[in-house]
């Protein structure tokens, strides 16, 4: 696997994700749902779809998504928090 990019990213652990959709409701500007219900990054290269870049104004919502994901499928990586 590739190392995640610099700067904070929201890492999706696909082995845990079950498509509950909470993250897509908290981060509608970053994540949409695919036809099976799984989160899909709206922006960024195809290679960054498991490590979605977070801008500072999304950091709080992303932190909530990590805490609230019922399957613990999300992590923030590369953040100084």
């Amino acid at each position: 696997m590739a190392e995640p990019p610099l700067g904070p990213v929201l890492h999706i652990d696909w082995t845990r994700c079950d498509g509950r959709g909470l993250c897509t409701e908290l981060l509608p500007e970053l994540l949409a749902r695919d036809k099976w219900g799984y989160p899909v990054a709206i922006t960024g290269a195809p290679t960054a779809r498991s490590d979605v870049a977070i801008t500072p104004r999304h950091l709080d919502a992303a932190t909530d998504a990590v805490a609230l994901c019922p399957l613990l499928a999300l992590t923030i990586v590369g953040s100084s928090r």
């Binding site: 994700c17 079950d18 195809p46 992590t75």
Partner: protein
């Protein structure tokens, strides 16, 4: 050569027969007669510099420079904190069209063991593992019993599945008995088996290390090219008189390899290069050589050295559909986009292959590849999507013909099978 070779009297293998130069089913005696013993002086951290000079790249698929991977493990090791690294020889070879690793473990197990011991010594490993399927592991075990220096190697049987050889699946299998990939946010070389820095190397890569440890980087580079030095093993299968493993120089052309296997080039439609996650190369481009530079323009990589030959009278869409169907069935079923996307991809391609003339099929397939790429914890969805895209592009004319109800290869209208 006599059976009582003394160190110093050993000549490095000349010509293309390097890995198997101790002969078939080589026992320890034949191995020592051909290669000599591994000198203690070659079992040092300096081996990393020799590997860097050799330019050896991994032979398991990804083709990563070996010295860089070994260096990464060394950087994350720390004796003080009991973080000694682990080295794993990976002979799982899940690719159905590859038999080079099983061939190597059967005929040259001692060279693999040498490479594992040498890599272990170079990084100061605390544990050495050899991971291979049932058919191969007994040869390696028997070889280890013939020598005193291999007693520390732990043998772990690999499950016979496509993804059991994926590096994180290898670690998961050894640690937990589950041969499925795991999600990772740091590299295995940083934290792998039991959180120790872990080096997973293909068995052929290690056999090459066993040779470089003895004969050096300059000898290794005396065959192959600047960018693709040394030799590599390839498995040729499909439209070929006999499935074969060959040792070739790193920059040999596909056409030359096919000719040496007795394949008439004018009977070939295309060759799948790099295995089921690989890319098709059409007949007109078979002069391309196996080096990274030779294959890149065709969107291919030599990977684990797999060449699957498709004959002129076989429908490439039918062949690809059956491969994608197999890949879908080999999903670990852990990640949604792979679990749902791959079977859907297989079924769309099958419809195209069997004469469904719905004009939107191509576009739907392309869209589906885009919806799985980059969305899995391993590269299985990406590799499968890559094969589908390669099929649509290399065989674009076949797709066009199928959509008008004809097949270019089988000289008969493509028909929907009932069922």
């Amino acid at each position: 050569m006599s059976g009582t070779a003394v160190a110093g009297a050993i000549r490095p293998p000349g010509g293309l027969n390097r890995l198997f130069s101790a002969g078939q089913d080589a026992d320890y005696r034949a191995h020592l007669a051909a290669f000599g013993a591994l000198a203690p002086s070659s079992l040092t951290p300096e081996l990393v510099d020799e590997l860097a000079r050799s330019g050896l790249s991994g032979r398991g698929g990804a083709g990563f420079p070996v010295a860089r991977k070994v260096g990464a493990v060394s950087r994350h090791s720390d004796r003080l904190w009991a973080r000694s690294p682990v080295v794993i020889a990976n002979g799982a070879e899940g690719e159905p069209r590859s038999i080079k690793d099983s061939t190597l473990l059967r005929h040259a197990p001692h060279l693999v063991i040498d490479g594992l011991l040498a890599a272990g010594a170079a990084v100061g490993a605390s544990k050495l593992y050899l991971y291979a399927p049932a058919g191969s592991i007994d040869y390696a075990r028997a070889a280890a019993r013939e020598r005193k220096d291999a007693r520390s190697i732990v043998f772990v049987e690999a499950k016979d599945s496509f993804i059991s050889g994926e590096a994180s699946a290898v670690v998961n299998a050894i640690e937990n008995g589950i041969a499925l990939p795991t999600d990772r946010i740091v590299r295995l070389t940083t934290t792998g088996l039991r959180r120790l820095p872990t080096l997973v190397h293909n068995v052929e890569t290690l056999a090459q290390v066993g040779l470089i440890a003895r004969f050096g980087a300059a000898w290794f580079r005396s065959l192959g090219s600047e960018r693709d030095p040394g030799t590599r093993l390839v498995t040729v299968s499909g439209f070929v008189p006999q499935e074969r493993v060959l040792e070739v120089a790193g920059h040999t052309s596909i056409a030359d390899i096919l000719e040496s296997c007795g394949v008439p080039l004018d009977g070939v439609a295309a060759v799948l290069v790099g295995g089921y996650h690989g890319a098709w190369i059409a007949r007109d481009n078979l002069t391309a050589n196996l080096s990274a530079g030779g294959l890149a323009p065709h969107g291919a990589r030599s990977g684990a050295g797999i060449l699957y030959v498709l004959g002129r009278h076989e429908c490439p869409l039918v062949a690809s559909a059956s491969i994608v169907h197999y890949l879908a069935s080999e999903s670990a079923r852990q990640c949604g986009p792979c679990l749902f996307g791959l079977p859907e991809m297989a079924s769309l391609l099958e419809r195209l292959a069997t004469g469904d003339r719905e004009q939107g099929l191509r576009r739907q397939l392309e869209a589906l590849t885009q919806s799985v790429i980059g969305r899995g914890s391993c590269h299985h969805p990406d590799g499968t999507a890559g094969l589908v895209l390669s099929t649509l592009s290399v065989f674009a004319a076949d797709v066009d013909a199928h959509l008008t109800g004809r097949c270019l290869r089988t000289a008969q209208p493509s028909r929907r099978s009932n069922g």
